[in-house]
């Protein structure tokens, strides 16, 4: 069997484990249906297998480790959408995929189908270490220092069914990047890891702890600056042990590690971790170069080669076709290898549902991945898809194919690239709908030229304080709230998840949905009127504060 590009190749041990796990869950489902298990008994078992009961049906959340899949796996998502769901899936802000119309009795069959392509839904729920997320440009970006996916895979193996960490005080999220440009929101994770090359050629890690969004948004703090590769697992083990021992279990709202780090202070937390490390058998946790190399060997490296005139071909096409040129400007990123480019496929068509893809689109993306990017796809935490290794002279053909399936929106990083949780249309926890207001804003600012003129401006929308839409980190954030049974939206400004992470601040009173859309439009108009040459929205906000935007947003209220 050929080794896939971009993700780890399972071995027989992995497959035997999955088979046993599915057999176990099949029996649990059967016992639930015949009444041997009550719902209270069954709920934690189904959640451990990624199965939620939402508003209209069961929802299955499937793990996409470090956001990377191959074309066979994408085709399996299309198959699940077509045969078990309503012909579409939803890519999430944690690089996973969710299916919203699942039947309990069919779930074992779905898991069996998934296992044929080495996928599962384990640890996509529950108070355990969740899917490890990573940089969507990993292994491809020109600005990258270290490809973080090998270490992400090591963390996946370390955290999967970890006997100590199956019942943590609360869920636990880890992100890892190997670029100086934080594309994983490292400071908004329970543990955020930035990898870089060390002096000895092995990787070293800067580690942040105690970040998170949700009810209490907090920016993670640096706990260690330079953890050597061989100490990575021991260090993470110690960090999570301290949390497991001292995190609060009496109050769900105070149970995340961020609350513990705030309560102890970062220095005391670090001392506790160092004390834990001092009494651990470090040899047992030592990550040797041989181990890392063995994992590395189960990743295929793409054989990149391009004609010498590839860049010139691309430039010619851009000159000839302004629409293509606009797309290239917003939806690509420089590749490390000459003649290549990273293409970002937007799942945010004007007026569409952010992150949704139909089975036909998923199948087409799989075909295009085979044709243009070594069969590899990445799911981004901003709910888009990346083809990481496209030859520059073939980019126009790729774009033309994407247009045929309505996947060529030129809006990455722009106002139309809206991040939104499923909200009250699906989610049992939500207070307000996220998708309709995202659709209205997407349609309002749908014109590609207008978006390009506005420039970098990210809108994030959450339907409740749990913040799955990362509204705290949006340049403009919208939080849906329930006011006497009606949906209102609170606007925040100035959040950012990248380098210099910050939490958005509330602009003023919450507004009804349509008033919110109008307020955002006025706010953007004000920005266009007062910005200096070259200033982004955040630059103008930093220079002038929120007063002019507040005045614009609330001028008719």
């Amino acid at each position: 069997m050929s080794v896939p590009v971009g993700h780890y190749q399972y071995d027989q041990i992995d497959r035997d484990f999955l088979e046993a796990r599915i057999a176990e869950f099949s029996e649990q489902v059967a016992r639930r249906i015949d009444g041997s298990l009550s719902e209270d008994e069954f709920k934690p078992l189904r959640l451990m297998n990624g199965l939620y009961l939402q508003l209209h049906a069961y929802m299955l959340r499937i793990a996409i480790p470090y956001g990377t899949i191959d074309s066979k796996q994408m085709r399996m998502f299309a198959h699940i959408a077509r045969h078990y769901d309503r012909d579409y899936g939803h890519f999430t802000t944690r690089q996973n995929i969710q299916f919203n119309w699942i039947k309990l009795e069919e779930t074992p069959d779905i898991l069996r189908d998934l296992a044929t392509v080495d996928m599962h839904a384990i640890q996509t729920s529950g108070n355990c270490i969740r899917n490890v997320t990573s940089d969507e440009f990993a292994g491809a970006a020109a600005d990258e220092l270290v490809d973080p996916r090998v270490h992400a895979e090591i963390l996946r193996q370390w955290s999967t069914l970890h006997p100590e960490f199956t019942f943590l005080p609360r869920k636990f999220k880890i992100a890892i990047s190997g670029s100086p440009h934080d594309r994983v929101a490292a400071r908004f994770h329970d543990i955020g890891i930035l990898a870089r090359p060390g002096d000895d050629g092995r990787t070293v890690f800067r580690i942040f702890v105690g970040g998170g969004l949700g009810r209490t948004p907090i920016i993670g703090q640096e706990i260690f600056d330079s953890v050597p590769e061989e100490r990575l697992l021991a260090t993470l083990e110690a960090i999570v042990r301290v949390y497991n021992a001292h995190g609060r279990r009496d109050n769900i709202y105070k149970a995340r590690i961020k609350i513990l780090v705030q309560a102890l202070g970062i220095d005391a937390y670090r001392e506790a971790v160092e004390a834990e490390l001092a009494q651990m058998d470090l040899e047992h946790y030592r990550l040797t170069p041989e181990m890392v190399d063995a994992i590395q060997a189960r990743f295929a490296v793409p054989e990149l080669s391009a004609p010498e005139n590839a860049a010139q071909e691309l430039a010619n096409r851009q000159r000839e076709n302004p629409e293509f040129d606009l797309w290239v400007r917003s939806n690509t990123h420089p590749h490390r290898e000459a003649g290549h480019i990273i293409a970002v496929v937007s799942l945010k068509p004007a007026g569409g549902i952010p992150g949704d893809a139909t089975s036909a689109q998923m199948d087409r993306l799989a075909d295009l991945a085979d044709e243009y990017s070594f069969g590899e796809l990445r799911i981004t935490h901003l709910q888009n898809i990346v083809l990481g290794h496209v030859r520059q002279d073939r980019l126009y053909d790729l774009w033309s194919s994407l247009k045929e399936v309505d996947l060529a929106s030129a809006n990455i990083g722009l106002i139309g690239d809206i991040v939104a949780c499923p909200g009250l249309d699906y989610c049992a926890l939500a207070n307000a709908r996220s998708i309709p207001i995202a659709q209205k804003l997407g349609a309002r600012f749908g014109d590609a030229s207008l978006q390009a003129e506005i420039g970098a401006l990210r809108i994030n929308i959450s339907g409740c304080i749990n913040a799955c839409g990362h509204h705290h980190a949006g340049h403009i954030g919208l939080l849906g709230v329930d006011k006497r049974g009606e949906e209102f939206f609170q606007i925040t400004l100035g959040g950012r998840a990248e380098n210099g992470a910050s939490i958005g601040t509330i602009l003023g009173p919450a507004l009804p949905e349509d008033d919110t859309v109008d307020a955002i439009a006025r706010l953007v108009d004000r920005y266009l009127g007062i910005r200096k040459d070259g200033e982004t929205f955040l630059d103008t906000l930093d220079r002038l504060g929120d007063a002019p935007f507040k005045e614009a947003a609330y001028e008719t209220v």
Binding site: L55, H56, D425
Partner: protein, 105 residues
Amino acid sequence: MKRPVRVGAGEKLVLTANRLLDGTIVWRDRLGRWRPVIGAAEKLDAERVGDVLELAQIRAQEDGVVGVYEVAVRDVDPPEPVTVRERIRAHGPTVHPEFAVETVQ
């Protein structure tokens, strides 16, 4: 313990749940059957709902439903839930008109 649903003037209560096998939203009719349309739901006074709810919860496994609870509705035909959440449950997600749920049979 869940707080009782407040019932305002011109409002009644209906019982709802999800079907165990496929999660479909169902509403309890006057014969105790679980039906997929809210128009079939029996409208109950606040004084009576406690007993009916308790019985429905006891019978949930036998009836093939999960998560039985009461919902405040306007006393019209078909009943219209008071909250946005329950209106979305009764009518289907607002973002896919093709998945709209009938409210009467």
